[in-house]
């Protein structure tokens, strides 16, 4: 059991560790928060590996699901009672500027700020599709949403980002 947990954690870290870090980072923006959420993700992978019964492709979805939950959990700590996560968009948009490298490309910064304007569900769907290049079937497995609603989410996200970029002259 412990041996299995070690092996699964090792596999997850070497195969998906880097991608999971960036997936979390794109959601929480702050590097310190991303590190904390990655840590919690790995702890859950290790302690819950006994309950995982699946193949390699579902291992990837399982890890992404844990990582997404950890990232959103961390963001929930920042909102007040009865406020939705979407209310953090302004704060996260400002954080993008603070966290960006001094020599970062302006369009890359603005693009991240445009993503931060999206409602949380759209943002998660967009990031998983655009950056991680996952299929809608995989994203559906991670988020528990239907493939059709994810397609719609992605479509609306793209339109909103384009509008934002036009508005800010890119």
């Amino acid at each position: 059991m412990n041996q299995d947990a070690n092996a699964i954690l090792q596999q997850v870290a070497s195969r998906y560790g880097n991608r999971l870090y960036w997936h979390i980072r794109r959601l929480v923006v702050s590097h310190d928060d991303a590190e904390d959420a990655l840590q919690e993700t790995f702890i859950k992978v290790f302690t819950r590996s006994g309950s995982f019964k699946g193949d390699d492709s579902s291992l990837e979805a399982w890890c992404y699901r844990i990582a997404t939950n950890e990232a959103l959990q961390l963001l929930r700590k920042r909102v007040h009672l009865f406020q939705s996560l979407d209310s953090l968009s302004g704060e996260l948009s400002d954080l993008v500027v603070t966290e960006s490298a001094p020599d970062a490309d302006r369009s890359a910064v603005l693009f991240q700020q445009a993503i931060m304007q999206l409602p949380t569900q759209q943002r998660v769907a967009f990031n998983l599709r655009y950056y991680d290049e996952l299929s809608y079937a995989q994203i559906a497995e991670i988020t528990g949403k239907s493939e059709n609603s994810l397609r719609t989410n992605y479509h609306y996200a793209v339109e909103k980002i384009k509008d934002y970029l036009k508005e800010h002259a890119i």
Binding site: N2, A5, N6, L9, Q10, A13, G17, N18, L20, Y21, W22, R25, R26, H31, E35, L38, Q39, F42, I43, V45, F46, T47, V96, E99, S100, A101, A104, D105, S107, A108, V109, F111, Q112, Y130, Y131, V158, I161, K162, L165, I170
Partner: protein
Amino acid sequence: MKEFGNINTELPYKESKSYVDAIVEKSMETARLHGRVERKMNRNLVYSLAGVAAAAAIVLAVVIPSGRKTLQPESSPIEMFLASISDSEAAMIVDWPIEDIPEYY
């Protein structure tokens, strides 16, 4: 993705791949350590709960039957009869002069 023309998937953050790899490695080691400690704590908790359950079972097995034993005589017909009579009536039974029983004459 062609939707955004010349904007590629590059992020504006400065962390390099080797730096993130080091973070992944560190997080993995910490998770292992944390997981082991958590499992050990859970195991200790299970042992403690098992100990408490065993002690409770012993108490139930020993105290309740002995309690029943002490209660049993009070609920027996003889005890109920003795409880229903006064002390003087009880003394009469004990000190009954056997030669006064008419049936024996």
